[in-house]
Symmetry: C2
Subunit: 135 residues, 2 copies
């Protein structure tokens, strides 16, 4: 069993983090666990905790990134859904068995050692899905 | 503390549930806990469990519904994010204090006794957010 453990995060692409925090942090009361520039993703990200999952508010810091183009084309809103998995390699194999269209055929490695791979929305019902293996 | 407990569900509007299940249930391995017509929402919904939250695959069964218009305009994908809260009345009050635009000024009641209210995407960074109090 390649096991999906939980929703790790829902990424929300926004034009302005401070305005969005007025809802997610101040009105809804979620705890902001971090806020930082992530140059590798050309974005500033605010992380909010909700029942063991995260809402990530993502603001593109370059106009060249895919995220910035998404924002310009579709407007702000939910961008992708990330699930934490136990065994990303086995799961990617299973994806191929079911003819799921992958964006990353092999896992990529983040700077913190985590592994991730994106699934194409065409195969999921329109959702950009990220698989995430923490260790 | 009006307390947000968790992500209750992420609703995904789809054109065809069976095709989407090929990813969410068969390839990803999520357990489908239910699948039924919900006439009140003019939709067929498949419920999949993931770490205490749900993915809801929602297929409009009428062309007249807001959901059907959303699908026609935006295509399939994530439609709204629902968080389970402890005290929806207090939370709605807090929303007004922070000038959050509400779709439902007062909680509405589902057939099962749950109470819910929607927040306008304009105030959240583009996300249609549902507050949900189970009891």
């Amino acid at each position: 069993m390649a096991g999906v453990k939980s929703i790790h995060h829902v990424a929300v692409v926004v034009e302005d983090i401070e305005t969005s925090l007025n809802f997610w942090r101040d009105a809804l009361g979620l705890e902001m666990t971090g806020r930082r520039d992530v140059p590798a993703e050309a974005a500033e990200i605010a992380f909010l905790e909700v029942g063991g999952s995260e809402i990530e508010l993502v603001r593109p810091t370059s106009e060249e990134s895919g995220l910035a183009r998404y924002l310009a084309k579709r407007g702000p809103g939910m961008h992708h859904l990330c699930v934490e998995v136990e065994d990303i390699l086995t799961l990617l194999e299973k994806m191929r068995d079911h003819n799921i269209r992958l964006i990353n055929e092999e896992p990529r490695s983040g700077t913190d050692g985590r592994q991730y791979a994106f699934i194409h929305p065409e195969s999921t019902g329109g959702v950009l899905v990220e698989l995430y293996q923490l260790s």
